[in-house]
């Protein structure tokens, strides 16, 4: 379980994350939603130790993040941020192999190769695994990076807007893969996501942030209501139920 305890972080005078406490269930997909600038990405960065909190603690399975060795954390928690432009000449397989670094420290074993193959298969990248990253489209690159995160084989996977640059087909593909990772392998997945319909259809829990504070949290059914969404985004969104899934119609 990930426990965020009274975490705050400010840049200058502006509190970007303001006294946030939240517990994240194991083996589920939790989506972080909220308007731009609500502090979602910052919170994800703090949980994954890319940033340190000004006050408060983050505990992963009862261990304080800032007191755990970096290399041990890398086997427990993986984070993928939104911007991943590389000037390196790297093939897809090379990139995915980097996911094994916490285990192999650069010397890949047979076991590592198995994980790499599996991650590539999971993201359906087999036929382009020898292509170089600069030959790929934005969406393919994004999938390659997610494959690296999967190869890292961590219990917790944190993704910051993984659907950026992706068309519907690949967005759905990635969300389905995440679903499988959670359901079949019991991974705990935290994502920052903008499209609330993707959050509604594919996640188990939703945490809504606004101005650095938690505005609402709960199961999909609790959060995806016109009333709560109005509180979060300040706009009216009728909600229709289609095939037992709640879809927000926010095109007014």
């Amino acid at each position: 379980m990930v426990e965020v305890q009274a975490v705050s972080k400010s840049y200058g005078l502006k509190a970007v994350v303001d006294n946030v406490s939240v517990n994240i269930e194991k083996g589920k997909i939790t989506s972080f939603i909220g308007p731009n600038g609500a502090g979602k990405s910052t919170l994800l960065s703090i949980i994954s130790r890319l940033l340190s909190a000004d006050t408060g603690e983050v505990l992963i399975d009862g261990q304080k993040v800032n007191e755990t060795k970096n290399r041990d954390l890398a086997k427990k928690i993986a984070i993928l941020k939104q911007s991943n432009h590389l000037s390196l000449r790297l093939s897809v397989r090379d990139l995915v192999s980097f996911g094994r670094f916490p285990y192999s420290q650069g010397k890949l074993t047979k076991e590592d190769q198995v994980y790499i193959d599996e991650a590539i298969r999971y993201m359906e990248l087999e036929d382009m695994q020898d292509k170089y990253l600069d030959q790929l489209s934005g969406g393919q690159k994004q999938r390659a990076f997610i494959a690296m995160t999967i190869a890292q084989d961590t219990e917790y996977i944190l993704l910051d807007e993984p659907l950026n640059n992706l068309d519907m087909k690949h967005s759905v593909q990635i969300m389905k893969v995440l679903r499988r990772l959670a359901d079949e392998l019991g991974k705990t997945i935290l994502i920052v996501i903008h499209d609330i319909n993707f959050a509604s259809v594919y996640s188990d829990y939703i945490v809504a942030l606004k101005d650095g504070k938690i505005e609402a949290q709960g199961t999909v059914n609790e959060i995806i209501t016109s009333l709560t969404l109005k509180q979060i985004y300040g706009m009216d969104m009728p909600i229709k139920e289609i095939n037992n899934q709640k879809i927000c119609v926010y095109f007014s």
Binding site: L50, N70, L86, L88, L90, D94, F98
Partner: protein
């Protein structure tokens, strides 16, 4: 295994350049010429190696392939130290003072400076590495201005002596510090082997490196110190010559098209040795000392860079 054959090719080329430098037009007094040439070629090999490795490390830490460590003002600091010594102690200090002590002072200042820059960078978290470059650039300009200020004040004869040190020259290598420099470089490179495995990961960027379990601050700090030591070794031996690093590292990247630093380190060092040894051979036997190696390097390097730019813009 094309990588391996390319490395062997480079190794042979480097060996040939060194042998060429040692034995071309040796003349009858070989027992006089040979030890002198050996001393010089040793300095050339050492300088080539440290410049190439320092630049490669710096480019990896900054994730930028067109930077050299000179941007953070390390070689202007070297000039400042030399000028300050002459300013306060007189030009005799450079000639009279023990070269080893001078060398130690220069290296000490450069390492301390790198550490201070580093402190400024990581005092607040989340600072961009470009902040370090900007700070270094400002410091470098400051050192440069301060150096010329002192140079204007001192006796013109003394200025002449400093001027000798301002330009990289392989005709005037400080061979007295060669042994000390070799030992220092050896120790530094040995220490570097501890970090080689992290270099590949660092080139993926800060966030990915942390995600993959690299202690980013710890590693970058040590790499910066290693860079500072390597650069000061090269600068103390022959003078400011960082453009060479930019050139050879990019040639190594172009030749090997890999991200693996274990290969790149060796490759760029070899390219660098070839460039310097063959270049010096040309200077001494074709141009008969009418020009300097640094001029040739800058000339060829400039052309190569225009070629790179043109090729990049076409694709």
């Amino acid at each position: 295994m094309r990588e391996k054959s390319k490395l062997i090719f480079l190794l042979i080329l480097a060996g040939a350049s060194i042998a060429g430098y040692m034995f071309v037009e040796l003349g009858p007094n070989w027992d006089y010429a040979l030890p002198r040439r050996a001393e010089k070629i040793a300095a050339i090999v050492l300088t080539g190696t440290v410049i190439a490795i320092a630049t490669l490390l710096f480019q990896t830490v900054t994730n930028n392939r067109i930077l050299t460590p000179s941007i953070i003002g390390l070689d202007s600091l070297y000039m400042l130290v030399q000028t300050t010594l002459v300013f306060f102690l007189g030009s005799t200090s450079l000639t009279v003072m023990n070269k080893q002590i001078n060398f130690a002072i220069s290296i000490g200042f450069m390492v301390v400076f790198a550490l201070i820059l580093y402190r400024l960078l990581f005092r607040r978290e989340g600072q961009n590495i470009y902040f370090l470059l900007l700070l270094g650039l400002i410091f470098g300009t400051f050192f440069g201005s301060f150096t010329s200020f002192m140079q204007v004040l001192i006796d013109p004869n003394e200025f002449q002596i400093i001027q000798d040190r301002m330009f990289a020259s392989f005709n005037n290598i400080q061979t007295e510090v060669l042994i000390m420099a070799t030992i220092l470089t050896g120790a530094t490179l040995l220490y570097l082997t501890k970090f080689v495995k992290y270099l590949d990961v660092l080139s993926l960027g800060k966030e990915t490196a942390i995600n993959l379990g690299v202690d980013y601050d710890y590693t970058v700090k040590r790499l910066l110190v290693i860079i500072a030591i390597l650069i000061s070794v090269a600068t103390a031996l022959v003078g400011p010559i960082t453009f060479l690093g930019l050139l050879v590292v990019n040639v190594a990247y172009e030749m090997f098209k890999t991200y693996k630093h274990s290969t790149l380190i060796v490759a760029s060092a070899l390219v660098s040795i070839v460039a310097l040894a063959a270049g010096q051979l040309l200077v001494e036997h074709v141009f008969t000392f009418s020009t300097q190696l640094s001029v040739i390097i800058n000339f060829i390097g400039g052309i190569y860079f225009i070629y790179l730019l043109l090729r990049e813009s076409r694709t």
